[in-house]
Amino acid sequence: MNIHTYEKLWLVGAMLLIVGFIATVTYGAVGVGVTMIDDSEETIDPTQLDEDERFSEPRVEQVGENEYDVYVVARQFMFQPDPIEVPAGSDVTFYVTSADVIHSFSVAGTNVNTMVIPGEVSTMTVEFDEPGEYGIVCNEYCGSGHHAMEAMLIVQPEDEFELEEGEN
């Protein structure tokens, strides 16, 4: 095959670029430790969430000194609990599932963003450094009221944070 010199140079350049991309993303995932949504949770029957110990009462729960679990249910067209209040400077693990169709759980303008698929549980652990308020939106079309599906995430200053009993 007859390949022009410029063609060869371009080919080599293209390959280097591709390998470079893969290297940076790998570094981002493995080196820096950005966690991905994966298959670590068991499947669950979306019509039986009422029976489920974690999701029958969507809530924020303290599980360690600086560790909190948040159980969130997404359904047409709301998130529960709402608002979600967590302290700054702690490890917060979200467990999100859907009671009906596919939704997303997306904290606007951040990379806290996951699909919420009925039957599956999405988990991610995040630390919020600064107190503040964030909007949570559903960014996957889920039916005619999709645009109304929102909630708030309130990150409280560490020393002011208190879990309310039976918070819902």
Partner: protein
């Protein structure tokens, strides 16, 4: 030396019909696109927000299924018949796949458009991705199936032509345009298996009430198994025109036949085993599988980078043939007054920008920031919405006269139209990308929320909205000008002075191509092996976790019956009060 219609009057009729089916879809799609831009940005809202999703479903389906694929079958028929220099084997067969595709489109359109009429209890507001457990009327799935079977038969038609030609020319290389069509169709057969299984085994029986539940992650994965290669199915006819027509318009010929073949083989091999890159954020799929999809995706950049090289080199060659000189001064020697050339060149330029934002999408971790935000439509309006759509429109300025025997109604308006599309898309797409970075979601009728507002670091959300609306309006005007030109062309008087329908031989011809490149059986086999490697474990794991029919759950027919809406409102208020 004659126009296409002189040599193949009957095939020209089929191609005209396919083009017109495509243009009707473009007309409806562009109108809905305009409504969307004005609605989302809260500038004009003529529909209820709950109807927005009917409009969006129609825009998606008409644009990326009907407009693109009908144009594709027209171009591919032109390419095969021209390059083999023989008509189709049976016109009846050719018309029958065209009719099947048309009927499929109508069947799909009925339940979608019925969504506007509350009194008809039928709808399909499921968007073009139709993720279960959102459920469309069975007719929607039936129509899609018929449409896809129509494309399968079209592929069979082109293979038949090639086999017949081969038996008469046993020692010849496959002519390049036919080679492109055949490799693309093999990719399409492999890719459409995904939705064929998804629809026939799960969604259709489920919508008919024959099975109770489906596994939403499984049908979604099968959709994306198809959903990425379909992107290349839209793109390949554009590439075909960039490789065959663009160098000719520039006044030269294609740089390298072997490299073009390599590119199409790479697309055949790599298009399918990457679909999971649309599911980086899905629970139930392990990080490892996502990582493999990402690596494959990065390699899929290669054929596009090679294309950039070959196409630019061929254009430069053309310019130098026309007397162009210097490092960059040759650009001035190009036929910028030809709408077919300028449109394709602008489309190629936008594709470079689209490729860049695509590389960002493909990176697993950055994807978390922009997934399902307006960034994503910003990206694909550069790729399918411009690289493909504008190349098709530009191609039509040359092809329509070829298949009608009538001169283009207005060259200046055509030229203006291509530039207008470019400018409109620059506004709309740029603003969409920026809005996406703020987290403004896509597929949302009213991205204004009660509890919070999106804050722009530079400029303001209002400024972004204005740009989206201005861009969308310019695009709509551009589409109208295009359609008007096509319509008037069809009513023009026939002329004898059309350019002849020849595709020049490449500089480095097929003799330089290793024969193995034409071994379609080999490439098909490798493509299948790669797909099996990439998909068997993820699919097995999804089925193992959730079962073939999922861990349970109800169906959610997307019907807009007033009682349902009222019920939802009541529920929401009650939840709020609790």
């Amino acid at each position: 030396m004659s126009a296409y219609i002189d040599d193949f009057p009957e095939e020209a009729a089929v191609i005209r019909a396919a083009f017109w089916s495509s243009f009707v879809a473009l007309a409806i799609g562009a109108f809905f696109g305009l409504i969307q831009t004005l609605h989302r940005t809260d500038i004009v809202r003529i529909f209820d927000s709950t109807d927005y999703y009917t409009i969006l479903t129609a825009h998606g389906v008409f644009m990326v299924i009907t407009f693109t694929i009908f144009f594709l079958v027209g171009v591919f028929t032109w390419a095969v018949t021209t390059s083999l220099d023989r008509g189709v084997e049976s016109l009846r067969f050719t018309w029958s796949w065209y009719l099947l595709m048309s009927l499929g489109t109508v069947f799909t359109a009925i339940p979608i458009l019925a969504g506007f009429v509350d009194s008809i209890d039928m709808s399909a507001d499921v968007l073009f991705t139709f993720y279960a457990p959102l459920q469309a009327h069975p007719l929607f799935y039936i129509g899609l199936t018929m449409f896809v079977i129509g494309t399968w038969l079209a592929g069979a038609d082109w293979f038949r032509s090639w086999w017949a030609w081969k038996s008469e020319n046993p020692s010849e290389r496959i002519p390049l345009p036919t080679f492109m069509v055949l490799t693309t169709m093999i990719m399409w057969y492999i890719a459409t298996l995904g939705i064929a299984v998804s629809i026939l085994a799960f969604l259709l029986p489920w919508s008919l009430g024959l099975v109770e539940t489906v596994n939403p992650l499984l049908t979604r994965t099968l959709f994306w198994y198809f959903g990425h290669p379909v992107v290349y199915f839209w793109l390949m006819p554009a590439y075909l025109m960039w490789y065959t027509l663009l160098p000719k318009f520039a006044g030269g010929r294609l740089f390298s036949d072997p490299l073009a073949r390599v590119v199409f083989v790479l697309f055949l091999l790599l298009s399918t085993p990457v679909g999971i890159h649309h599911q980086y954020l899905d629970p139930g799929i392990s990080e490892g599988f996502k990582f493999i999809a990402m690596t494959n995706t990065m390699f899929l950049l290669l054929p596009s980078l090679l294309t950039a090289f070959t196409v630019v080199a061929s254009i430069e060659h053309g310019a130098r043939q026309r007397g162009g000189e210097g490092y960059f001064a040759w650009l001035g020697a190009l036929p910028w007054r030809e709408p077919a050339f300028t449109g394709m060149a602008l489309a190629g330029l936008m594709f470079a920008a689209g490729g860049f934002s695509g590389m960002i999408n493909a990176g697993m971790n950055i994807n978390y920031l922009i997934h399902n935000t307006l960034w994503v439509p910003g990206h694909f309006h550069l790729t399918v919405g411009t690289a493909v759509a504008l190349t098709f429109m530009a191609g039509a300025y040359w092809l329509m006269p070829q298949v009608t025997g009538k001169p283009l109604a207005s060259k200046p308006i055509a030229l203006f139209q291509t530039v207008l599309w470019f400018v409109g898309m620059t506004f709309m797409s740029n603003a969409m990308h920026r809005a996406g970075l703020l987290g403004i979601p896509r597929r949302t009728a009213e991205p204004q929320y009660e509890g919070f507002e999106f804050q722009a670091a530079v400029g303001s959300v209002a400024e972004l909205d204005a740009q989206v609306a201005i861009g969308g309006t310019l695009l709509f005007v551009s589409a109208v000008l295009f359609l008007w030109n096509m319509l008037i062309t069809s009513f023009n008087r026939p002329t004898e002075t059309l350019p002849s329908n020849v595709i020049p031989e490449p500089l480095s011809g097929s003799d330089d191509s290793p024969a193995v490149l034409d071994n379609l059986k080999l490439w098909t086999l490798i493509a299948i092996v790669l797909v099996v490697l990439a998909y068997s474990l993820p699919l097995a794991s999804i089925v193992d976790r959730g079962g073939l029919f999922g861990p349970g759950g109800d169906a959610f027919p997307v019907r807009l019956s007033p009682t349902l809406v009222a019920q939802l409102l009541v529920d929401t208020v009650q939840e709020g009060l609790r």
